[in-house]
Amino acid sequence: MLELAPLVDCSNVVIEIGGIAARVAAADPAFLQMLENRYAGFISSRTDVDFDFHVDLGEPGMADPDADVSVANCMGCWSVERGDFRAEWEPETSRGRIRQSPNPYAIDAVLRILHSMLLAKRGGFLLHAASAIRNGKAFLFAGVSGAGKTTMAGLAPADASLLTDEISYVRKHAHGYSACGTPFTGELEQLGENISAPIAALYLLAKGSANRIDPVPAAEAARALLSNILFFAKDQEMIGALLHSACEFVGRIPVSRLTFVPDSRVWGLIG
């Protein structure tokens, strides 16, 4: 069992993304204020939270401050480490603690990993994709760095609501999927709007000399989707859930390749 410091004498903020609320408690008011500023629009007043974190500020004591993230599961407790933080949480009790330096990037990484795991159990996922709502429907634009996610987000017309330019939040429902806004930003450094809508299409981005949309066969779509899903845990149950989710998604949501010239005319094909 994790030994968690009592939450008394600590203030907290609740960060709610995609309907999942995580309460973050810390003794340093300046740190909490920083979180409130960074996650503005995603701060919630919910008291029935899905997860509780206690943050201890200080150097995490990692040997390599530039180390990549590593995720491990020991006796049901998840342990996540990077150069600037060390986090542990128990899914069973929905509680965890983070030891981190007082920077905003550490807790941002913890939240991304936490949400990716929670979504995996619910048939959803985080996707390397920009996303926006237009005419009541959500559209996702997936691709690796440089594929055009930020470009598509930056070119979005006034009648489109940007959910993210970097990490799309996909939730599964009984009759389909919805995309939710996230505070996980890319090069635009602009928080998404905290709204959601049913997903109408996923586009795989490719820059070209003309704007066109071509359907993508299911197997190819699943491969592309899997290559863009954020996934951290080398865990068989998670792997099985991830593969299942990707195949289910491409069976329900049209997946196409969007070849585009990087100017605003491409949005004439969307929505």
């Binding site: 299911a218 197997a219 699943a222 899997l226 068989q236 792997i239 593969l243 299942h244 195949c247 491409v250």
Partner: protein, 111 residues
């Protein structure tokens, strides 16, 4: 593992450290060890699905491949051996020169 000679009978079994799902005519396999994604074509999928640890690769090729496709059996067996050794190298298939009766079933995700 003692399975280097191609003339030996070879038994193949799916690793338990994977998740697999058929989509259209392809089998998609993810390794739980390193999250690598593999896609098998139709022929390889027949071999994968028949890799129960107790049926020799030779029998699989004879009954699952040669009965469906117009191929020379010796060439099909050679191709199959090459394929299963590649997959074994990635840890998603187990090879043995004896039946792998106790091979764990893989996590097959059904549609």
């Amino acid at each position: 593992m003692g399975v280097d000679r191609m003339s030996d009978k070879l038994y193949v079994a799916r690793s338990s450290q994977i998740a697999a799902r058929r989509l259209d005519d392809e089998m998609m396999i993810m390794s739980a060890v390193d999250s690598t994604l593999f896609t098998l074509n139709e022929t390889a999928t027949f071999i994968w699905e028949a890799a129960d640890g107790s049926t020799s690769l030779e029998d699989i090729v004879t009954h699952k491949i040669c009965s469906r496709f117009e191929v020379v059996e010796s060439e099909a067996l050679q191709d199959a051996e090459e394929m299963v050794r590649q997959l074994a190298g990635h840890g998603i298939l187990l090879l043995s020169d004896e039946p792998l009766a106790a091979a764990n079933p893989s996590r097959q995700v059904t549609p």
